[in-house]
Subunit: 566 residues, 2 copies
């Protein structure tokens, strides 16, 4: 249970700041992450990793020569924002392109994905490899849909070594993807963890039992079982991993990872049995690691990871590296990096804008004012709805994001920005401050919508409708949700369709919007399922029957609020 | 809570074996410990550390170039046996003498102390430095009586660096002692740990509170307090440590240590506040470490350690080292050590013995038979008495130790050993198998008693009585207990005095022994105190009122058993 906290809201940032103070010889703190503080050769591919906080040494502890160039850190168990990913990447990039590595979670896929698009637009060659090692989370024929757990460590080790060796980005990407394809993990949990500031654990495991395949954020596993002796647990882990052994695979990098409160001595006892079983199956264990490499705060449990080596992968697995938590081979003679002009916290600079477009921006700022009022009023109700199926923080996140967006757009208006630029910075501010998946979605939504506007002219009705379509397409493409997944998309698709139809039928924007808002409200209500759903946390799945999706509800609320102002 | 266990009885040994399999590039397993597997220069001082298991990386994780040469590992939270200490030392010694380092606990002081005497008798120069850093365990003017906690890490780091630099043993001892004199720790616990195989925690801390100064095995602290925010906790830790800041001390090696379930992110949050406070007090923090360096299984809590540096100490604190858990500076180019003839598990070789002495040995073997019967019968009752003030394992330990001693003496008799040698190996077997303080005491008692006998002649009555006095003196000198401490000594002192008086009064050995046994029984009963006692675990202190000391009771039982056979 987390006990050492000042303010739960700033816990993750305070932890990262404290980490950076200790390990200044490895890292330099930037907002939302850390980058290497030692000199990196110009033109080297930057390996940049990240995800939610609460998994130390993932991810900041991996930064150093031979492994990662930077790490992005979100709030506890929540994806970093798009802006944070982009910011850390800009700070770390050395001209050789960027390989982004992270575990396969919706929020991370979205935020890293959107950040990658933004960086590519700036001319940086960005590649993405998501780690998908958790065999409990999807069947073998869908391995790219699996979640990423302790396999992060071995995949990033290989990626970092390939980049350190001076390979070009195509090769680094290929090798990293190859490493992920050959990495398999399986874990068990004995007990839950407690988020900073919470008084109750995030989940519990019944006394005397273990949850097989439970995820590192408490995602549901395969089944519960009675706790077994160490040698039987070893059999369970080894057999599960060997079931997907590639043909001809013999040599393996192996990681036995503790989740936080399952301690070293227990892992060593287990290791004795695991190694014996692997050897009996003809596996040559190469430079194994046993310890805490991807934790989940103080969760009790462990996982076994195997990376099936070939000559190339073995070379990079064994290559030297030197990070706060992991040294291998000869250490590096490092020099402090030259001081770089900070790319943190720059006030946005706006290009010239016509007075008509500036007037449109003022109009958008007024809409943001109304959205903040509506979301503040609805905050508790949105949280209540979200709590049936999620963390219950949706109302808080929406209010926080909209408030940040309003501040940003008013500043932009004051600085003379046009409609396009003003809405774009509002979206960025929303994503950066709200956090989580819904923050990223709304940031993307606003920014994509803004691309239908310009800074030269006032926006027309047609621009607004075109913007809606662009926003929907981007949200679906980058967010990965489809209609029926019980997300905001379920309400957004009919909204945009209704808007387009009504406008084509010759209605005014105001009337079309009002009609579409009504459609949107109905669709949001229809997200309340009538039967149990698969996926996500078990007791919650049942409790969510008959309750609509909070994201769809807030979209309908915002659509309705805007309708009243048009 | 410990969940990954095969057999609780062999947990510590299995953990050490698993550890050795992973870290074969650093260590080689010997019975009861690990020694460096890399070549060490002949003549280098060997720094050998140890204590109970359950504190990883203490102590096996400290073995490697620049730090320790070997580590001895007892059962969970229990001192290694004298034989284990001696065995590991013999395996590691390179001709330069041995510095033994361990935390100040009665069992360790006894076992390492007796082992040191034995090694000195073999011609090895052995020095002892006990670590006494826990400011909560004794006042400042009695700092050498304090317990050793996370200060172990910093003191052993300095000791290892001094030895690696090639200093001679006088200098290594002086510097290590100096480091200990300038090392201060203070800790808090939020929750207890669970021993392998136990279903309940060793102790608990009431929800919402923290125990200030609680020891790493659950020894009582100073007081309980409500849990406070991280910055207030930082003040508490820093103020307590600074209260004993030596005059003029400015530069400090600092360690913020997690006990097991208080995780990295929490420690990083706390570190930010701790470092700020230290800097505000004019302390220059030098190469701080934050993480898990001395754990207590899955105990929740943390401690702050400060080693006040001078030029010499700073040099050794910053010197390179390379161990399984801690790398600093340039790594070492190491080579595997040459294979050494094993010194494990050698069957004892006995010198020539007269038939009279061999007959005496047979008589002693018969006495051991009777002791085993009596102790087996009394095992549960002795455990029950022990449970009022201790772990409740006294009966089990005595039965196990006596059984091992009986086996050893019968083997010795079969191998033709004389009385002196036979009783000495019986004592060694007792200490090696029983574990804990009482095992060490009984091993010492038998071995010391044997020194009054010879392998040339049968023992006389006078030899038996002289042996009793030697055994008592050694137990008091090396065990450190005085009459009134509620230990076996309370019954042993009057026993030996009565034995000597009765013999001086002209009684036969049988009559003298019977008289002394009666005195011993009375004295054992008198160890049941009539009022609450200070020290040891709080709730237990009250429950132990009116119950005698289990060690004194078993001495009386054994004395009475022997009386019936004389």
């Amino acid at each position: 249970m987390t006990k050492i906290v000042d303010d739960p809201e700033t816990f993750a940032a305070a932890a990262l700041a404290g980490f950076s103070r200790i390990y200044g010889r490895y890292v330099r703190l930037v907002k939302g992450g850390v980058v290497r503080s030692t000199a990196v050769p110009q033109g080297k591919v930057s390996v940049i990793v990240g995800g939610g906080s609460g998994h130390y040494p993932a991810f900041a502890g991996y930064v150093g020569p031979g492994m990662a160039d930077a790490a992005v850190a979100g709030e506890i168990f929540a994806s970093p924002s798009t802006a944070a990913v982009a910011r850390v990447c800009r700070n770390a990039h050395c001209g050789g392109g960027i390989l982004l590595g992270f575990g396969n979670y919706a929020g991370d896929v979205l935020n890293f994905g959107v950040a990658a698009e933004r960086l590519r637009a700036e001319g940086i060659d960005v590649r993405i490899v998501t780690v998908t090692d958790d065999v409990a989370s999807a069947p073998a024929d869908q391995h790219l849909r699996r979640r990423g757990i302790a396999g992060d460590f071995v995949v990033f080790k290989v990626a970092g070594a390939a980049a350190e060796a001076g390979l070009e980005i195509d090769a680094v990407e290929r090798i990293t993807r190859h490493a992920n394809d050959r990495t398999f993990s399986f874990g068990v949990a004995f007990g839950g963890c407690t988020l900073p500031g919470a008084t109750e654990p995030l989940f519990t495991v019944p006394r005397g039992t273990m949850a097989l395949g439970l995820g590192i954020h408490g995602e549901p596993g395969i089944r519960d079982a009675e706790i077994v002796p160490a040698r039987v647990l070893a059999e369970l882990l080894v057999e599960t991993i060997l079931a997907e052994r590639p043909v001809g695979a013999r040599r393996a990098a192996v990681l036995l990872n503790g989740l936080g409160a399952t301690k070293y001595e227990e892992l060593f006892v287990l290791w004795g049995a695991v190694e014996t079983l692997l050897q009996a199956s003809g596996v040559d264990v190469v430079a194994p690691e046993v310890g805490e490499y991807v934790t989940s705060l103080d969760m009790q449990g462990c996982s076994l990871t195997v990376l099936w080596l070939d000559v190339e992968l073995e070379h990079y697995w064994l290559a030297p590296c030197d990070t706060p938590v992991f040294c291998r081979g000869e250490t590096f003679r490092t020099e402090p990096a030259a001081v770089r002009p900070g790319t943190d916290d720059e006030a946005p600079v706006f290009g010239p804008a016509s007075s008509a477009s500036r007037e449109s921006a003022r109009c958008l700022a007024g809409i943001l004012d109304a959205m903040v009022s509506a979301l503040s009023e609805a905050e508790i109700e949105l949280g209540r709805i979200d709590a049936f199926a999620g963390d219950g923080d949706h109302g808080q996140g929406m209010r926080r994001g909209a408030t940040a967006a309003r501040e940003a757009i008013h500043q932009a208006v004051a600085a003379g920005a046009g409609a396009r630029s003003a809405l774009a910075v509002a979206g960025d501010a929303w994503a950066d401050r709200a956090g989580g998946t819904s923050g990223a979605i709304w940031g993307l939504l606003l920014r994509s919508w803004s691309s239908a506007f310009s800074d030269e002219a006032a926006f027309e009705d047609a621009d607004v409708i075109r913007g809606a379509r662009i926003a929907l397409d981007d949200v679906m493409r980058l967010g990965g949700a489809k209609p029926g997944d019980k997300t905001l998309v379920d309400a957004f698709v009919p909204f945009v369709a209704a808007l387009e139809t009504a406008k084509a039928d010759g209605l005014s924007l105001k009337d079309a919007w009002q009609k579409a808002s009504a459609t949107c409200r109905q669709a949001a209500e229809a997200t309340a399922p009538l039967s149990p759903r698969l996926g996500r946390a078990r007791p919650l799945a049942e409790r969510s029957i008959g309750h609509p999706d909070a994201g769809a509800v807030s979209l309908a609320l915002i659509a309705t609020t805007i309708a009243a102002r048009l």
